[in-house]
Symmetry: D2
């Protein structure tokens, strides 16, 4: 059975909703998601490190705050230094997602930060793999389109100033599901 | 008199429209824009290099093709290597813009490529300096909002599959004008 | 039989030497390298595009000029737009390398440019996967150490102002061989 | 009197030594450095935010851990969100530095993270402005050369597995001094 760890931080609940959508995608592909929610930068990460080590793949997620991943996810990354020294996550499949208030807002930089961590560990990176949503009339932004903003490195969702029950919109949630599905399929193929 | 060189490439006319808006902003600030249009990667860039050397600031622009600035602008960057060896553009004010089909589409990477060139030359970088457009309901994308996508490194405009007479939308063009204005003001202050 | 396309540009022969080392690594892993040398930004890339399409994996390489990949490789990337629209390279294994005059010199940005292209195509990215060379005394730079500079996204080699017969040094060439080997192994596993 | 805030985190004392060298450079240029040392991600940053607000320029520094700036500096960045909403640091001069164990090690990404924060705030970025150190024989790495690794976005220093009394080497410390000097001069010119 393929297991996919989803390690994420969520400040106001929006990124948590996206993480759950990623997990649904993993399940849809016949694999088992393992949701690991980071609470703060100071917590003990030993159990999460262990779960990632056991998983076939890992998907990291965080809100973009001030143009980069939130500090709690960065703190988790630093806690993986011991595993890095042993190259304990080498060749594991990795991917990432982030949520923020705007379409751009340097969220590509936040995704790159996740990618860099994966590369330091010698992991193998899987991007969104999604064609551009809505290319013939992007100014309209169609909230129901998959990958409506046109990201490639990972999945980006955008939430308005409203609760996680109504935002990010349906297209973004489906983008997240498809990321989970894609990572699960690649991991299964690679583990075979 | 403050002079601002605007060096750009445009494949289908959209980036040219944006470059002209940048020039309008420069004029609005009481400075003189110098539009320098790159035709192709193989052309002779000597005269453009000279113009940039004489200017108080330079704003580079190109469409984002396959996630990065177009090859003709990169070719121009390489043609500046002789000037770089002499540090001939050191301390000049620099900025950048790009246009593409989607909101994201790795356009932040394209802007970073322009920024990197500026840093190699020891120039001083001025970003968009624009507050986020439309933050309380970004899913609607308001085409008349300034910085509707929320970029910070430089200005990004987004054009639909239509002619440059109708797209990018008005908000994007005003973002470009404000970039020209901001660069002209910073350059004037710095030259004083 | 696993086939690995190696698409590269080389200005003065150093990057060509590295490309050949990558090819040796591919052979060492029991796969077949296909060296595809780009001559200039204006050439016809149709045959190269076809070769990449047929290969199980592709490794892109270029010198870093003014902080980014050389314009001829960027031109090749743009020539792949038709394939991108059909998502013809989706799920192919990809990796990258670059050569330059200094240890840093924004070569990480050049590798990121290659990575971004791979992500646009929906490919799967394999980094260097190499532990840091020489960590207990890096100031000495040991030219025979593998990954002596500590790159993770891809392989970076550094050449002095001397001919490609003597530089980049042996450690860098072995880093390149190991990248070829690693990509070939991952591609074989993934194709199984 | 020009005042330059130097906000930094240091894990084992090496980055602190670099921060002090930056401060020496500020003093050398006739300006006043204000060293603000971050202890951990959970501390109260209100006083530091206030100091940066009062300063003419700010230089951020942190060790590179796992390929990016350390979590405590990221936490400080997040604490500046209130100031960002008011655009309280707009047009301030900004720069950055980082220290790590290797020549590359994704330290360019760490500098980019600092740059992005500066751009979100609408600040103006000053890079190292240093010509490449040691270009005719970089494999030898000359520890006494200024900018021996060839960085442009900011200053990078490299320390061996030894105490901050002996590492990073003299060339790196002088690079840091020159960054402080450069930022102070640009800030003075800009404030005039």
């Amino acid at each position: 059975m393929t297991t996919i760890a989803i390690v994420y931080h969520s400040g106001y609940g929006h990124t948590a909703v996206v993480a759950e959508a990623v997990a649904e995608g993993v399940t849809r592909a016949g694999a088992t998601p393992k949701l690991l929610k980071i609470e703060n930068a100071g917590q003990d990460f030993a159990a999460f490190i262990e779960e990632v080590t056991k998983a076939d793949a890992v998907i990291f997620g965080a809100p973009t705050y001030m143009g980069d991943i939130s500090a709690p996810l960065k703190a988790f990354f630093e806690a993986s230094a011991g595993t890095w020294m042993k190259q304990g996550w080498k060749d594991k499949i990795a991917a990432g997602f982030t949520n923020g208030l705007t379409f751009a807002g340097d969220k590509n930089h936040a995704l790159t930060s996740i990618f860099i961590l994966a590369m330091q560990h010698g992991m193998i990176w899987v991007g969104s793999g999604q064609a551009l949503g809505n290319v013939n009339g992007n100014t309209s932004a169609a909230p129901e389109a998959v990958n409506r903003m046109g990201y490639s490195i990972g999945v980006v969702t955008q939430s308005d100033n409203a609760g996680p029950d109504v935002t990010p919109p349906s297209g973004d949630r489906e983008s997240a599901r498809q990321l989970g599905e894609r990572v699960a399929k690649v991991a299964a193929k690679f583990a075979a």
